[in-house]
């Protein structure tokens, strides 16, 4: 780039314009201005050593697309991976809306200038509440793990207690995030996490172990439904009841795409619900599609403890017209800094809009039908695999994921499946050694019978 080079992203790189501006300011050049603000000793007095730029769009596109072509995708391979990021169909309308310049590039505008964004966010809260059976939700947070972390901290503040129970059939990645949220430099501020066993024969929470660990110190019981091993916690109501019996909160993490067919967390006693909205029309983006949410009953003691931005509907001075604004905004770190409820920041609001479009497109009937198809296909696959020698599916009563146990090491099975252009399930052998040589398989509406049969055929060969 010579002195006279004009960059298409920098209008005022035009030398004549820049000179006019410098003249207006009364400065010789940028260096003179920098020297006035930054001490000499801190200035980088050399050009940065960086790769040569690709100035034309076509060269840039070729270069980046060339690197990315080294990836394989779930379009080229048949994938049975889940475990917190799931392959579901993304309706075209979702992509059209999330690509709109207005939503894609908005940020911190006001309740008037960004009225449409505020309404879309309010509708996210409204529709996710319908699925969960709750009355309050906020703007989305980062992912399920962050949602769980905030939910547990809310429960601790609400109850004034510093211990939570978490079953061992929850995601270990989320547990790691949760541990960070619960830790504290201040020993008095630390939330102790006590793990509860799950029944090895069903994959569900061990109610006896749960009951034995419940006491008056427990702020909340956090469990997932379906849990990380894919199994539906059929005793959800009992778990909530046990939590409530010692004055603890029942906190449930859910995959909302199951909620067209599964009971809502509110129906089995959840006080706080959280989870992951990525399945609702957001692409996987190598894990970049995560979008957490939190919801609860509409009581002040809950609302006051949210870290999130909470949009409330409000009337305007024109009869019948709505506007939106922030409820109890003084809770947030934007207002209260270190005295805030945890913190709030730039999260995943675009994915929240996508999920809103998804829920609107599917409606109650679509959510029900989709849930049924997922159940049928996943159970069919499990049954088919269970018939193979050297393969066992230990659990029933799951939604879309289930562990598959092999006689051979999962690493070896998956390497061979890769040769058949199949991504086998995620290896559980290290995180859940008690399950043996197991992998977590995920089957959704994306899997045609043909794909499932390809897996069957390949596995027959691989485990033989």
């Amino acid at each position: 780039m010579g002195k006279d080079f004009v960059h298409p992203y920098i209008p005022n790189s035009v030398p004549k314009i820049k000179q006019e501006m410098l003249d207006f300011i009364g400065a010789k050049d940028a260096d003179e201005l920098y020297t006035e603000m930054i001490p000499e000793r801190l200035l980088l007095k050399r050009e940065m050593q960086l790769p040569e730029p690709l100035l034309s769009e076509q060269e840039l596109k070729r270069h980046v697309a060339g690197i990315l072509s080294k990836n394989k995708t779930t379009e080229e391979y048949i994938s049975f991976l889940g475990g917190g990021c799931w392959q579901h169909y993304v309706p075209k309308v979702c992509e059209v809306i999330q690509s709109r310049s207005e939503f894609l590039t908005a940020y911190a505008g006001g309740a008037y200038s960004d009225h449409g964004r505020f309404q879309a966010n309010f509708e996210f809260q409204s529709l996710i509440c319908e699925l969960l059976g709750m009355e309050v939700s906020g703007l989305p947070t980062y992912d399920w793990g962050a949602a769980a972390g905030n939910s547990v901290r809310m429960a601790s503040r609400i109850t004034g207690r510093n211990e939570i129970l978490v079953p061992r059939n929850a995601s270990l990645a989320r547990l790691s995030i949760l541990k960070n949220f619960c830790g504290s430099v201040d020993p008095k501020g630390e939330i102790k996490i006590t793990l509860v066993d799950y029944e090895p024969e069903t994959g569900r929470v061990d109610l006896n172990d749960l009951e034995s660990k419940l006491c008056e110190n427990i702020a909340g019981v956090y469990f997932e439904n379906p849990n990380y091993l894919g199994v539906i916690e059929s005793e959800g109501a009992k778990i909530s009841e046990l939590a409530h019996s010692v004055g603890a909160e029942s906190i449930v993490g859910v995959d909302p795409i199951s909620l067209g067919v599964l009971a809502s967390p509110a129906e089995y006693g959840a006080d706080i619900a959280c989870g992951e909205a990525q399945p609702l029309g957001v692409s996987m983006y190598a894990g970049g599609g995560s979008c957490g949410f939190i919801a609860s009953r509409d009581e002040e003691r809950y609302v006051a403890e949210y870290p999130l931005r909470l949009l409330s509907l409000a009337p305007t001075n024109v009869e019948g017209e709505f506007g939106f604004g922030q409820a109890l905004y003084s809770r947030t770190s934007y207002m209260a800094r270190e005295k805030a409820k945890d913190w709030v920041g730039t999260t995943t609001v675009l994915w929240g809009i996508t999920a809103t479009v998804y829920m609107s497109l599917l409606g109650p009937q679509g959510m029900k039908e989709l849930g049924e198809t997922v159940l049928e296909k996943s159970h069919y696959t499990a049954a088919a695999l269970n018939e193979l020698s050297g393969v066992e599916v230990p659990y029933s009563g799951f939604f879309k994921e289930f562990p598959v146990r092999f006689t051979r090491p999962v690493k070896e099975v998956n390497e061979k499946l890769l040769g058949h252009k199949i991504f086998g399930g995620n290896d559980l052998s290290k995180d859940f050694p008690e399950l043996g040589k197991s992998a977590l398989y995920c089957v959704t509406e994306m899997h045609s019978l043909d794909m499932i049969e390809k897996l069957e055929t390949a596995l027959r060969e691989v485990v033989a």
């Binding site: 769009e57 080294k70 908005a106 940020y107 911190a108 449409g116 894990g287 009937q365």
Partner: protein
């Protein structure tokens, strides 16, 4: 220059539930194949009895075109950055994100994060090289992670590293961190979430410069470290920043640099020479990824060699020309987010930097800085607008409308509702507390042309004239907006607030 006439789209669009017609639908999911149905039966029977949904969720029922129309209308009633001159939204670096990068980001949309490493080589290469080529050179740090999915999580990540570092060294009693009042709120709130006591330093009231003497008094045996934004959110660069990190280090603390807004200093000054141990960039700001109505964004966290072992897992490493995910890091803080973060954001930023090169990045920094000097020369001539501290500002400046408010009764809240009548986004009103009264903080990134800046200033000038000649006109704004004046009284009232349609119906219908 006279501001142009503008009127926001006004669709009077109902809440989507009000548009529902029983029986309509917008989408049909696939049904299972006959063979599956025959073997398995109906899906509903596969759910344990007590967990079946008894009543369908009350989601709206609309046909596809009606859903599309509704959200298109809502999008039109949103003044996104690409629609206007968005430089009033300061501390946010509302720069242009090249459209080609959207297409490139789409190339990983069907990639699963748990795929075998050999099938992720493209995206791992991009993330690794972006950290180790670009951010390393721009910051001087040694090792990077993109797992934190936003700037605040980057800051939180660094608080967790600080917590683990001191615990590992047998100094868990170090429970105080130091920040400044003009550092971003996350520099106070995220260490507080990690359990730290927060000491906030105030600037010299004359110059606005961070007060080194106050720092010397604040440090001690309980100091765990500092979290400092520089340039601060009011645009002033702390000239003594290397002395500050020296003072913290002498007390046994670590230094975390908030470089969320590094736009005017890329290639100019670096965290390494300023003495920091770790930093975070907000990639969606300085390195150009669309802000998405508030995310997904990404932090780019960098640390010095000595802290590398604390980074969250997995860390992307390069071995024998291949990129791998390293989970075997015993001292790691664990995870702050599932998987590897928002890699589609990292990918856009890599593409942006490739399109800029070293000279282009430096040019973007210089032009954004010059843009701000130019804007400041114009804004300071506008009646009722004052600058609280005299120091020259880098990328942005925090202005005050206190004078205007005293003279006319019109403050920032009113001005913010009036500027949108001229097609300009409401200004970022600045985080609290409002040490500088009636504040606003414009940030004219390199995206904006001289003509754009002139236009934006003409709007502020026009509204100032209106405030002095006809304050009611400004106070009763907006006049050309999508909606009319909102009744703000209910937002703190449990009987009136409604965070969902079902809550609204219960309370108000």
């Amino acid at each position: 220059m006279n501001p142009r006439e503008y009127h926001a789209p006004r669709w009077s669009e109902p809440i989507i539930h009000e548009l529902s017609t029983s029986g309509e639908r917008g989408f049909i999911p696939p049904t299972s194949e006959k063979k599956i149905k025959e073997k398995i039966g109906s899906g509903a029977s596969l759910i344990p009895e007590g967990m079946r949904r008894k009543t369908k969720p009350d989601l709206p029922e609309l046909s596809q075109a009606q859903v599309l129309r509704h959200y298109l209308r809502l999008s039109q009633m949103t003044l996104g950055m690409e629609m206007e001159i968005d430089l009033g939204v300061g501390t946010c670096t509302m720069k242009y994100s090249p459209k080609i990068n959207e297409e490139l980001a789409g190339l990983i949309k069907d990639v699963h994060p748990l795929q075998p490493e050999e099938t992720l080589q493209g995206i791992l290469e991009i993330a690794y090289e972006f950290g180790n080529k670009y951010l390393r050179e721009i910051s001087g740090m040694d090792a990077f992670t993109f797992q934190p999915p936003g700037g605040s999580v980057g800051c939180y990540n660094n608080a967790l590293i600080m917590r683990k570092y001191h615990a590992d060294r047998g100094e868990p009693h170090r429970d105080e961190i130091i920040t400044t009042i003009f550092s971003h709120p996350c520099d106070a709130a995220t260490p507080a979430t990690a359990g730290y006591k927060v000491i906030t330093l105030y600037p010299d009231p004359e110059t606005g410069l961070p007060d080194t003497e106050a720092l010397k008094e604040a440090v001690g045996p309980k100091t765990a470290g500092c979290f400092i934004t520089n340039p601060e959110d009011i645009g002033i660069f702390n000239r003594n920043i290397d002395e500050w990190t020296g003072i913290i280090h002498d007390a046994g603390g670590l230094c975390s640099y908030d470089q969320a807004n590094a736009n005017a200093i890329m290639g100019v000054t670096r965290a390494r020479e300023a003495g920091f141990d770790m930093l975070f960039f907000n990639l969606h700001k300085t390195f150009s990824s669309p802000h998405g109505s508030s995310g997904p964004g990404s932090a780019g966290v960098g640390v010095v060699k000595e802290l590398e072992e604390y980074l969250p897992v997995p860390v992307i490493v390069k071995k024998d020309g291949a990129y791998m995910l390293d989970y075997d890091r015993p001292k790691s803080i664990g995870k702050v987010r599932d998987f590897m973060g928002n890699l589609q954001v990292v990918l856009r930023c890599y593409a942006w930097c490739m399109a800029m090169g070293a000279k282009g990045l430096r040019e973007a920094a210089e032009v954004s800085m010059i843009n701000n000097q130019y804007l400041m020369e114009k804004v300071k001539k506008i009646k009722g607008v004052t600058l609280t501290y005299p120091s020259r500002r880098l990328d942005q400046a925090r202005w005050s409308l206190e004078q205007m408010k005293q003279d006319t009764g019109v403050g920032i809240g009113d001005v913010n509702k009036r500027v949108i009548d001229y097609g300009v986004q409401s200004f970022f009103t600045s985080h609290h507390p409002w040490l500088i009264p009636e504040p606003f903080t414009p940030e004219p990134a390199e995206t904006y042309s001289k003509a754009d800046i002139d236009y934006w200033c003409s709007v502020l000038e026009k509204v100032s004239e209106e405030a002095y000649s006809d304050p009611e006109l400004v106070k009763s704004a907006p006049h050309n907006s999508s909606i009319h004046k909102i009744d703000w009284d209910g937002f703190n009232d449990p009987d009136r607030w409604a965070m969902s349609w079902r809550a609204y119906r219960r309370k108000h219908k």
